[in-house]
């Protein structure tokens, strides 16, 4: 019993994390982060190429 309680149930952690990241993605999309990503990605990022 003690040995079993020490075992880390990785599958449970994976699924909990999976649910959390899906909610994180949905929350980010709903509050409009995706527009900021697009806005930055479709313009030449002078900072990124070392000119800014």
């Amino acid at each position: 019993m003690h040995k079993n309680s020490k075992k880390l149930n990785i599958n449970n952690i994976r699924f909990i994390l999976l649910v959390l990241v899906v909610f994180s993605i949905i929350y980010g999309i709903l509050r409009g982060e995706i527009q900021i990503v697009l806005r930055n990605a479709i313009n030449i990022c002078l900072d990124c190429i070392g000119i800014g």
Partner: protein
């Protein structure tokens, strides 16, 4: 005899991976005409982050770089924390861990091509290597999170510090192609570009001498994915049939010991250790039924306790 046959298969495995890496680089940067006209792709696909370090200002880039996007949202005046981008990166990490580094990353592939140049190679001493790998976590915390979040101007904006001061992938994939094809940008070259060129030259030099120099010591995306390696769905297992011959450790260019820590944060899932294992103790798995830590990690834990 069996081992010799497996060693013969090694080039085949490497060729397969190189082919997939080349395809990844071409697909992620598929708007090839922009390399000639000096522009970048501006379609809706750039809403989505690709799972690899691929600058979104690369003329052909079809998706957004996750590290660039993370800083873009973190340093925007609207938000301080990028739930969408962090969620996407974590999703990639939970599913595949650092597999993306080993099999799809264009900059990783470029470094592997550089490593093929027949010059004397360096294998960093394990004591130095074990300390140096922490540099990428420092870069992640300082340049990707801390500076963009805490150094905002009165308008609530700051610069993408990692992209601006460090990223050699941006200089190589975006900076030089755009400067060569866009005369207006050529006029704007300044000291930051010169600094980034020096970093790029250093990265290229050490990538020739050290296998995946940037991935090992400086890639913030690799640092994030590495944290997921232990819990990702796609993971490596070492069964009790392992005879501890250490052939896997000797073949590993990422300098890990797969039979001890098959899910090390440094493992890029290239699979070469699996190819050389004489007893087939190492294998990849996507989902396992016993739902506990991989056997060797439990054994290693027990051994440490006994010591």
């Amino acid at each position: 005899m069996k081992t010799n046959r497996q060693n013969d298969n090694l080039p085949k495995q490497r060729k397969k991976r190189m082919l997939i890496q080349a395809m990844g680089a071409l697909i992620f940067n598929g708007d090839w005409k922009n390399f000639i006209n000096g522009n970048i792709y501006q379609g809706n696909l750039k809403n989505i982050c690709v799972p690899v370090l691929n600058c979104y200002s690369c003329p052909g880039a079809l998706g957004a770089c996750p590290i660039g996007s993370l800083q873009a949202v973190n340093n925007s005046y609207e938000f301080n924390l990028a739930f969408y981008v962090i969620g996407l990166i974590a999703l990639f990490g939970i599913t595949m861990g650092r597999w993306f580094c080993g099999w799809l990353c264009p900059f990783g592939w470029i470094q592997e091509l550089l490593y093929k140049i027949p010059l004397k190679k360096i294998r960093i001493k394990p004591t130095i290597h074990k300390k140096a790998i922490w540099l990428k976590y420092v870069l992640l915390i300082v340049f990707v999170f801390t500076i963009p979040i805490f150094t905002q101007d009165p308008y609530g904006m700051s610069s993408p510090a990692f992209c601006k001061w460090i990223c050699p992938a941006g200089t190589l994939e975006a900076g030089y192609p755009l400067i060569l094809s866009n005369p207006a940008l050529r006029q704007a070259i300044g000291h930051i570009f010169n600094w980034k060129t020096i970093l790029l030259v250093i990265t290229i030099f050490f990538s020739i001498k050290i296998f995946r120099f940037f991935c090992k010591y400086a890639c913030p995306l690799g640092a994030i994915y590495g944290m997921f390696n232990k819990i990702s769905f796609y993971h490596m297992k070492c069964s009790s049939t392992c005879i501890k011959c250490e052939r896997c450790s000797k073949v590993c260019k990422m300098q890990i010991e797969p039979y001890k820590t098959p899910n090390s944060a440094e493992c890029i899932r290239c699979g070469e250790c699996i190819e050389v294992c004489p007893v087939k103790a190492l294998k990849f798995s996507f989902f396992h039924k016993n739902s506990t830590l991989p056997e060797t990690e439990i054994d290693a834990h027990k051994d440490n306790k006994q010591e």
